[in-house]
């Protein structure tokens, strides 16, 4: 081995090492501007008591689900505009701040912290369940009520955060709606396919559990595919081997479109149904228009499917020069519910708003009359069955 390093060398090494830590801390500091708040107690009640009421939204604006972000943001913005045109609420204007959660837990958590720092009064975001979970405690500690428009995993409720309200039907409700339709359509052998994400697996697991006690139909195959692949022939072969007459896909539209295409190409003739994550025109494009015809879907009510929804779509188009998409309506409703609760509470104090949210009864939203269950979910799931006809999804009659 070599000789021992000389004293000077050691000293130099030491200084570089310490310098590193130094630079580290320096950069961290440099990044932050001035900030307020004490270092003890709560992180405060988020927003201030004067000035604009801030509604914060964590939504995917980049990454694999980036398409959804603008739909949610615009839907919420529409409701915010309406509230402001009506003179605001409790004498204050409403402001929407959207931050990118990228459907990634770490990014979403940072986005949530940023929203808390920006003085959010009520959170109206949350799309991917796994990315929404870490934000619960961040908003919770700041005592900020969360009205979650899209994320609907039952895990969001397991810790019973008192500030969390789900505005979307839960996996359990969707599974029930799916099963009811399968029975109605006379399906005997069902194949359940998910993409192994929190949301998707929740629905297949619940559907399988609900189907257990049923003699009319049987789950013959359960498959999990990996999202983001381009070839699902292994899954398709496994599904066809079980010889089902009804396939239920609970993942997102990209994989769903491919799956439908490959199922049809392999000669599958039975029914296919998809869950709400796949209800997007892209599904039809990816699967091919012919393959997608007659594909069913479980979906929360949308303006396209409810009476009187056309006027809302026209309003949305006028404001953003784009069509509304998945979760536009839920986000719109989330803002309206938030505004209603603040109005009833007469304040933006988190605790008072939460109490007001719990007390809401019969407030009209797209999925019906709103009343939260004691678990803070919708009392009515409001799932419709849609079917692909031509280039889009229409209500199945």
């Amino acid at each position: 081995m070599t000789a021992w390093p000389s004293g000077g060398e050691i000293s130099m090494m030491r200084t570089t090492r310490v310098g590193a830590v130094a630079a580290a801390a320096g950069a961290v500091l440099a990044l932050t501007s001035c900030g307020g708040g004490g270092i003890t107690g709560d992180s405060g009640s988020g927003g201030g008591d004067t000035g604009d009421i801030v509604l914060g939204m964590v939504t995917p604006l980049s990454g694999s689900s980036a398409a959804i972000g603008p739909y949610m943001k615009n839907g919420a913005q529409l409701a915010v505009n309406e509230a402001n045109e009506a003179g605001g609420v409790i004498g204050r204007q409403v402001k929407l701040v959207a931050e990118d959660g990228a459907c990634d837990p770490k990014t979403a958590a940072a986005a949530a912290a940023k929203l808390v720092t920006a003085g959010t009064n009520v959170s109206v975001g949350g799309y991917c369940s796994s990315a929404t979970l870490p934000t619960l405690s961040i908003f919770g500690k700041a005592n900020i009520p969360m009205i979650i428009p899209a994320a609907n995993s039952n895990d969001l409720l397991k810790d019973q955060h008192k500030n969390v309200f789900l505005l979307n039907g839960t996996g359990a409700q969707q599974a029930q709606a799916a099963l009811d339709f399968m029975k109605k359509s006379g399906a005997k052998a069902i194949a359940l396919v998910d993409d192994n994400t929190s949301y998707s697996k929740d629905i297949t697991t619940r559907t399988a559990e609900d189907a257990k006690g049923d003699s009319a139909l049987k789950v013959v195959s359960r498959e999990s595919v990996t999202a983001g692949e381009s070839d699902y022939s292994a899954a398709v072969t496994a599904i066809l081997r079980a010889n089902p007459d009804f396939v239920y896909w609970t993942g997102y539209y990209q994989e769903g479109g491919l799956l439908i295409k490959q199922l049809r190409a392999a000669g599958y003739k039975g029914d296919v149904m998809v869950a709400d994550g796949s209800v997007d025109k892209q599904l039809i494009t990816i699967a091919g228009k012919d393959n997608a015809q007659g594909v069913f879907a479980t979906m929360t009510q949308t303006p396209q499917t409810i009476p009187g929804g056309d006027a809302w779509i026209a309003k949305y188009k006028k404001a953003f020069n784009a069509d509304p998409g998945p979760y536009s309506t839920q986000s719109y409703d989330a803002v309206r519910v938030a505004v209603e609760a603040i109005k009833n509470a007469g304040s933006t104090d988190g605790t008072k708003v939460i109490t007001a949210l719990q007390a809401i009864d019969g407030f009209p939203i797209f999925s019906g009359k709103l009343k939260f269950t004691p678990e803070h979910t919708l009392s009515e799931g409001g799932f419709d069955i849609l079917v692909v006809k031509g280039d889009g999804f229409v209500l199945n009659k």
Binding site: G19, G37, G38, I39, T40, A109, A113, K158
Partner: protein, 370 residues
């Protein structure tokens, strides 16, 4: 690949990584050829004189500790904690990649093992977080032994492929097992306690202390007897073996040390996030940690710390760019690597030998080192 072959690299292993390692090997040969690096601090650059001052480091550690007094906003604390955890991962991987030259593309696996062990023990079994730490270390060591045992006999690219597979195996296993919560992951993970402070600030200070110690430990490891053995193995494994170093054992030590760092960082991550799920441990993470090491300067603790800060904070600073965020991030990284291929703060002993003195003693090493 079409560049003229560098000294020491054979045409059979054209990977850029191997070349980078070889290149530095050549640089060291140059240094050794010119005698020991001259003593004394460099004069020259005023920036490095200030940054190089012994007290400067302690000053800024104090600044890191003082951050909550300057800016206690939830966002600042959050991303600073994220950055610190990332620093811990980077210095851990630096032991494996930087010191020992083992290319590990699945480092997030140890991070996941740590986070899951701690998360499952603390939620399913209700243990306090501190009590889970010994088991996290044990789990990380077992993980390191399992994967390192058979694979450390491989070299360079082969090892990279095996570790890449390992990283994915851990993530997919976590996605499919019931006790890890499947795709939902583990949530409701408790914190260290709030010590009468705001809980995120309490966590921040705990993380500052742990990461500070980790950086210190990693840096000292690199300077000890073992550290020199690691560098020797990195520069030339056959020569090291010929000189009596048990290369397999030494590589094993590096790998397991890296695993422990990763596991402990996983604990901090689990506590900080309160909810962990498989997507948090995908290949991108392994790649980003490796990027932090390479960007900062392989084998240089200060460089790696800076690299980690950049990789961790840049995406946050680019938040306004929305969909363009990762494109800009990627372009910036490419630009840095074009202009600083040796890293932002490379290992000085090899990088910048005192030119004046070397020129006097022997001119050839300059040639070699280039």
């Amino acid at each position: 690949m079409s560049d003229e072959p560098l000294r020491g690299s054979t045409p059979e292993d054209p990977s850029g990584f191997v070349r980078a390692v070889d290149e530095r090997g050549a640089a060291t040969v140059g240094t050794v050829g010119g005698g020991l690096t001259p003593t004394g601090r460099k004069g020259g650059n005023p920036v490095s004189r200030v940054v190089g001052h012994p007290l400067f480091g302690w000053l800024v550690i104090a600044v890191a500790v003082a951050l909550p007094f300057v800016n206690s906003s939830a966002y600042a604390i959050r991303i600073s904690t994220d950055a610190l955890i990332f620093i811990m991962l980077a210095v851990g991987l630096n032991v494996v990649v930087g010191y020992c030259g083992l290319l590990d593309l699945g480092y997030a696996a140890f991070f996941a093992i740590g986070a899951y062990t701690s998360g499952v023990l603390s939620t399913t079994f209700g243990w306090p977080i501190l009590a889970t730490i010994p088991f996290v270390v044990i789990a990380a060591v077992i993980g390191g032994l399992l994967i390192g045992g058979p694979t450390l006999r491989l070299r360079s690219d082969y090892l990279a492929i095996v570790t890449l597979g390992f990283g994915e195996i851990i993530r997919i296993t976590a996605n499919n097992l019931d006790f890890t919560g499947g795709p939902n992951g583990v949530f409701g993970i408790p914190d260290f306690g709030d010590f009468g402070l705001r809980s995120d600030i309490a966590t921040y200070w705990v993380v500052v202390v742990v990461v500070g110690l980790a950086v210190l430990a990693s840096s000292r490891l690199g300077r000890g007897r073992l550290g020199r053995a690691w560098r020797f193995v990195r520069e030339d494994e056959d020569a090291a073996e010929a000189m009596g170093i048990h290369t397999y054992k030494v590589k094993f030590a590096a790998y397991v040390t890296g695993a422990i760092f990763g596991g402990l960082a996983g604990v901090l991550f689990a506590v900080h996030q309160t909810a962990i799920s498989p997507p948090s441990f995908n290949f991108l993470w392994s790649a980003l940690i490796l990027m932090a090491v390479v960007l900062g300067g392989m084998g240089s603790t200060p460089g790696v710390v800076i690299g980690a800060i950049i990789i961790s904070l840049l995406p946050e600073l680019l938040r306004g760019a929305e969909n363009w965020r990762y494109l800009i991030f990627g372009v910036l990284l490419i630009v840095v690597m074009i202009f600083r291929p040796q890293g932002i703060w490379p290992h000085r002993v090899e990088e910048k030998p005192d030119r004046g003195r070397r020129r006097r003693s022997s001119p050839e090493p300059e040639e070699v080192a280039r």
